[in-house]
């Protein structure tokens, strides 16, 4: 990258169900906390990029009433629909373009205002799939899970182990929503069936959440903090729609990761990256994500979880924060991963801190069966 860009501050809300406060109040508190964490004032921010969904927010042009809370009053402001990693990419581009130096990136979804799965049904093709009426985001992911598990002989237990790991990690993270420190594989496999083979504890709870971070150009970052978290690489890729896609692999994530690795000069992600924060909207997705990120061969993601390599004390910890399975404030989920990765580098993750993290990967996704994927590689000063 021609210009180096760093994360210099961040904040998250406590992820919960049905937080009894307005969207503006929650966003205000988190943006204010992120500015405080960076130690700067709103006046020093040049541009604001937010991520939310009009349908999840329940209003069109959902940023018009948000501008004051997010600190965008009389500033350059944009909104991206979908995941917060998209907003981060946009913010990064604003700085790389040389026109802005400090950017606030914010993402939120208060999923309890409506059943988000009801909205995702309308992501389906209106001409064919919606006419049948049987498919929705969970059913589509069940199709993906079954195809993947059948093709590579992945046992249900391996998928359940992802939930066990992440929900136990979540118990160490004060901000997250679903914490189950003593969960067992049997309990996951006996939880309520949604669409076979997907069960209640293999999908995230419905969560309200807001997060925000402050980005700065190298020059500004050095002024603001002595612990900048550099964006070393980024990649993003969009896949085919559901029906034309090879559902047993996340090809768009492979491509996004390859781009990010190349930019960051990473040849062997297994050895060169210390911690991974990924957006696994379903337990089986974490196995598929680990393969797409090049941590395991095709279909062998199960080995990582079975051998405990992705646990807190494993060689390649995945989701020490609890991941998306523990809290999924939809548009904020990817940006939360970025913040959690940055926390690991700055050694601010407290109970779920991994020792000696110098480089971390964060992943965000959007769309049915993880259609679109974005990868960020973050690094500290070494």
């Amino acid at each position: 990258m021609q210009r180096r860009v760093a994360i210099v501050g961040y904040a998250q809300s406590e992820y919960q169900f049905d937080v009894p406060r307005t969207r503006e109040d929650q966003v205000f508190d988190v943006v204010k906390a992120a500015l405080r964490h960076a130690g700067i004032l709103r006046e020093e921010v040049d541009s604001v990029v937010t991520a939310s969904s009009d349908f999840l927010d329940g209003r069109t042009i959902s940023n018009v009433f948000l501008s004051m809370a997010v600190g965008a009053y009389q500033k350059d402001e944009s909104k991206v629909e979908e995941d917060g990693t998209g907003a981060l990419l946009y913010g990064l581009m604003r700085i790389l373009a040389g026109t802005h130096d400090v950017v606030t990136v914010e993402a939120h979804t208060l999923a309890s205002t409506i059943n988000p799965h009801q909205i995702l049904f309308y992501a389906l093709d209106p001409l064919f799939d919606r006419q049948v009426g049987l498919l929705n985001d969970i059913a589509a992911s069940a199709i993906q899970a079954r195809m993947y598990m059948k093709k590579y002989s992945v046992p249900e237990e391996a998928v359940a182990m992802v939930s066990v790991k992440n929900l136990a990690n979540a118990a160490l993270n004060p901000l997250t929503h679903r914490k189950m420190p003593d969960l067992t594989v049997e309990e996951v496999l006996n939880s309520k069936i949604y669409y076979e083979p997907i069960r209640e504890l293999m999908i995230p709870p419905i969560t309200d959440g807001v997060c925000a971070l402050i980005l700065a150009s190298e020059e500004k970052a050095r002024e603001i903090t002595d612990r900048p978290v550099w964006i070393e690489g980024v990649g993003t890729c969009q896949d085919h729609y559901l029906r034309e896609r090879n559902l047993t692999q996340l090809e768009s994530l492979q491509k996004a990761a390859a781009q990010a690795y190349e930019m960051a000069g990473i040849k062997d992600p297994y050895r060169e990256i210390d911690v991974f924060e990924v957006s696994e909207r379903f337990a089986h997705e974490e196995l598929m994500i680990s393969e797409a990120l090049g941590l395991a061969r095709e279909g062998r993601g199960q080995v990582l979880i079975e051998k405990g390599l992705t646990g807190l004390d494993g060689e390649i910890p995945i989701n020490p924060s609890g991941g998306a399975l523990s809290a999924d404030p939809i548009c904020a989920t990817g940006l939360t991963r970025v913040i959690e990765a940055a926390k690991q580098i700055r050694e601010e993750a407290e109970n779920h801190q991994i020792l000696g993290v110098t480089r971390a990967l964060a992943h965000g996704q959007f769309g049915i069966c993880a259609q679109k994927n974005t990868v960020f590689i973050l690094g500290g000063d070494r």
């Binding site: 937080v19 503006e24 109040d25 349908f55 004051m68 409506i114 009801q118 209106p126 001409l127 919606r130």
Partner: protein, 169 residues
């Protein structure tokens, strides 16, 4: 020569709906505080501790200062028209306000001309969007002094403030 229109063929279409049901928007205290004020015929605004601006109706966050506006203020019933619009004659079956035809419901007479106004009440730094009563399109002007008109027995509803009328000072 045939018209292009005649040669047009209908594209096949399928029925669709966009039924995402009801939202449960998170509530706030500002609206409640405002209507509680109306019940006592008071106009409540919020005060920014940063810039000292008073916003009526109240808002929680000052975008300018990026601060919370937790303090509440009562502003005057008297104010000034900062802007106005003159409606065309209201016809039956032409307008609906929250699903009600005001002419049909007898709220507004057929052919009446309404004057929606922006009023800045004394002590406030923002405009309130309301309606000019007991006046005429000929009389209204920017800078016109007005006072708030409340219903006789306010019940703590937004409709307690009926509008404003000319003030004789």
């Amino acid at each position: 020569m045939a018209y292009l229109k005649d040669q047009r063929r209908e594209t096949m279409m399928v029925e669709g709906s966009w039924n995402i049901g009801a939202y449960r928007y998170k509530g706030s205290t500002q609206l409640q505080e405002y209507v509680d004020g109306l019940k006592e015929k008071k106009l409540i605004g919020s005060l920014c501790p940063g810039c000292g601006k008073v916003i009526v109706q109240p808002r929680n966050i000052c975008g300018r200062c990026h601060r919370r506006m937790d303090k509440r203020m009562v502003v005057s019933h008297k104010g000034t028209i900062t802007c106005f619009v003159i409606s065309p004659p209201i016809e039956k079956g032409k307008y609906k306000i929250i699903g009600i035809d005001p002419v049909e419901a007898g709220i507004i007479q057929e052919g009446a001309i309404l004057v929606p106004v922006f009023v800045r009440f004394d002590g406030a730094d923002s405009n309130i969007n309301t309606i000019l009563l007991n006046s005429s399109p000929e009389q209204v002007h920017i800078g016109m002094r007005v006072k708030a008109v409340f219903v006789e027995n306010p019940e703590g509803k937004l409709s307690d403030l009926e509008g404003v009328e000319p003030l004789k000072e």
